[in-house]
C-alpha cells in the first residue's frame, strides 16, 4: 500500500479464515486435491484496493423467474422431484446483513444428474429442469429460491463414493475478500456422514453449518418442503465477541 491509501485503511483489515472451520486443502480419496493444491506456502501480503474492492451485481440483469428452478420458464412445466422452498440470510461475520448481493446456485436434478458436458452419470436428464438459478439478497440480506430436492449421485472412479444431495452456492459479498463458493447439504441424509467433502472440514460445528434446517413451508398453502440455510461471509477484523 502507498503511504496514503486511497481507500478506507480500516477496510484493509480483514479477518483471517480459521483453518478448523474451513476444509483441508488435500482430501483423502479425492486425487485432484493432491495434484492441484499448491505445494508452497501462500504469500503473506497486505491486501490492496484490488482485493478490498470487488464486483457488485445489483440484479439489474436478473429475470424475475431466475430464483424459481422448479418450473421450466418457457413451458411452465414443473420439474420432477420434491419441491422445496429454500431461504436464508447472508451476513458477514460481524453480523451485518450482506445486502443486494448476487447468489448463484446450481444443482443436480431429482435423479442426481447435471446438465453439463462433464457429467457422464447415466441418470436421466429432466427436460424441465436446468438446475441453475440466481437471486439477489434483499435489504435484510435475505434470499429465496424455489427448486426441487437434488438426488445423490456416484463420483466416477472413486470406490463407490456417492455425493449426498447438495446444492452449490456462489456468493460475492461486499468485496473480493468475501467471495465464497460452497455446498449446502440436507439434514438427516445417511450419506452426509460418509461424504469426503463434508468431512474435509475439521470442526464438527462448522460441518453442521453446511446443513440446512427444516422450517415451516413459507409457500403454504402451495405444497413445498421448507428449508433454511444461513450463510456467513468473511468480515473485517474486529468481530464482535460477547462474554458467555
Amino acid at each position: 500500500m502507498s503511504k496514503n491509501p486511497p481507500g478506507d485503511a480500516a477496510l484493509t483489515a480483514f479477518a483471517r479464515y480459521d483453518d478448523a472451520s474451513q476444509p483441508s486443502r488435500v482430501v483423502a480419496g479425492y486425487p485432484n486435491t493432491r495434484t492441484r493444491t499448491p505445494a508452497a506456502a501462500p504469500v503473506a501480503y497486505v491486501p490492496g484496493l484490488s482485493e478490498i474492492t470487488g464486483p457488485s451485481f445489483d440484479g439489474a440483469t436478473l429475470r424475475p423467474c431466475e430464483h424459481n428452478l422448479a418450473v421450466a420458464p418457457d413451458t411452465g412445466r414443473r420439474a420432477i422431484g420434491q419441491i422445496i422452498a429454500l431461504a436464508g440470510r447472508v451476513s458477514d461475520e460481524d453480523g451485518r446483513p450482506v445486502r443486494h448481493s448476487l447468489i448463484e446456485l446450481w444443482q443436480a436434478n431429482g435423479a442426481g444428474r447435471y446438465i453439463h458436458g462433464h457429467d457422464d452419470n447415466d441418470a436421466p436428464l429432466d427436460p424441465d429442469f436446468i438446475g441453475v438459478g440466481r437471486a439477489v439478497t434483499d435489504g435484510e440480506g435475505v434470499y429465496r429460491f424455489i427448486t426441487i430436492k437434488p438426488g445423490a449421485y456416484p463420483v466416477p472412479n472413486s470406490g463407490n463414493w456417492w455425493r449426498p444431495p447438495h446444492i452449490h452456492f456462489s456468493l460475492f459479498g461486499s468485496s473480493a475478500m468475501s467471495r465464497l463458493v460452497t455446498q449446502m447439504y440436507f439434514p438427516g441424509e445417511p450419506l452426509n456422514a460418509h461424504d469426503r467433502l463434508i468431512n474435509s472440514v475439521p470442526d464438527a460445528a462448522a460441518r453442521e453449518r453446511l446443513v440446512c434446517r427444516v422450517v415451516d413451508n413459507p409457500l403454504a398453502p402451495v405444497p413445498a418442503l421448507g428449508f433454511a440455510f444461513d450463510i456467513v461471509l468473511r468480515g473485517r477484523a474486529g468481530t464482535p465477541w460477547i462474554d458467555a
Partner: protein
C-alpha cells in the same frame, strides 16, 4: 469464556466439475464493454491468454478463472475506492472464463492504471475448480512496467518467483490489442505464487 456473536464464515467447498455454462454467457470474458455491443471502455486493449496447469504439467481442464481490476485510470467501481477521480462506466471491471480441454483461457480487457502510484498495474485473479477445496488468489502484473520495480508484493518475492506473477508478451503480435500470456501453475515445477487468503 468469550463467544462469538456470529459464527465464523461458512466453510468453503469445491466448486466441483459441474459449474453451469449458463453462468458464463458469451462476453463474460470481455471486460472492454459492459455488454456485447455496448460502448467501449477507455484505454489500451489487452488480449490475455494462458493455461492453468496442475502437477506434472497436466492441464486443469474445466476450471473457473475470474479476474477483477481497475480501469485505465486506476479506479475501481466500488465504495471502498473513495477517490474523486472518474470511473469508466463502460468498463466491466470483472469477468470470468472456463478453461478448455488444454487448460486454456482467454480474456479481452483494458490495461489498468496504477491504483496509488506505488503498486504496479495488476489484475486480481481467482481460481476455482475441481480439487480446489478453497479458492486460489493471485495477481498478474504487466511486463515492462516501471512500477514493477517498486511494487511491494513483487519486491517481497525472490527473483525467480517474482517473474511468475508477470505476464509475458505473446510470441506472435496480435492486431486489436496487446497480446499477453499468463500461465498459472497450480502445483509443481514453476509453481505460481498464490496469496494468503
Amino acid at each position: 469464556m468469550k463467544r462469538r456473536l456470529v459464527p465464523p464464515p461458512t466453510p468453503s467447498q469445491t466448486i466441483g466439475p459441474f459449474f453451469p455454462p449458463h453462468l458464463i454467457p458469451p462476453g463474460a470474458n470481455d471486460l472492454t464493454s459492459r455488454a456485447p455491443g455496448a460502448p467501449p471502455a477507455a484505454g489500451e486493449v489487452v488480449l490475455l491468454s494462458g493455461r492453468i496447469i496442475g502437477e506434472g504439467g497436466k492441464p486443469a481442464v474445466n476450471a473457473l478463472i475470474e479476474i477483477w481490476q481497475a480501469d485505465a485510470g486506476g479506479r475501481f467501481n466500488h465504495p471502498a475506492d473513495r477517490r474523486n477521480t472518474p470511473i469508466d462506466r463502460n468498463f466491466a471491471f470483472w469477468g470470468r472464463a472456463r478453461t478448455d480441454g488444454d487448460g486454456g483461457y482467454r480474456f479481452r480487457t483494458i490495461k489498468p492504471g496504477s491504483v496509488d502510484g506505488a503498486s504496479a498495474p495488476h489484475i486480481s485473479v481467482t481460481i476455482l475448480g475441481s480439487g480446489l477445496m478453497r479458492r486460489l488468489v493471485t495477481r498478474m502484473y504487466f511486463p515492462d512496467a516501471a512500477l514493477n520495480e517498486t511494487d511491494p508484493l513483487l519486491r517481497s518475492l525472490d527473483e525467480a518467483r517474482r517473474h511468475r506473477l508477470v505476464a509475458r508478451h505473446a510470441a506472435a503480435k496480435a492486431t486489436g490489442g496487446l497480446a499477453l500470456v499468463f500461465d498459472i501453475v497450480l502445483r509443481g515445477e514453476g509453481e505460481t505464487p498464490f496469496l494468503d487468503d
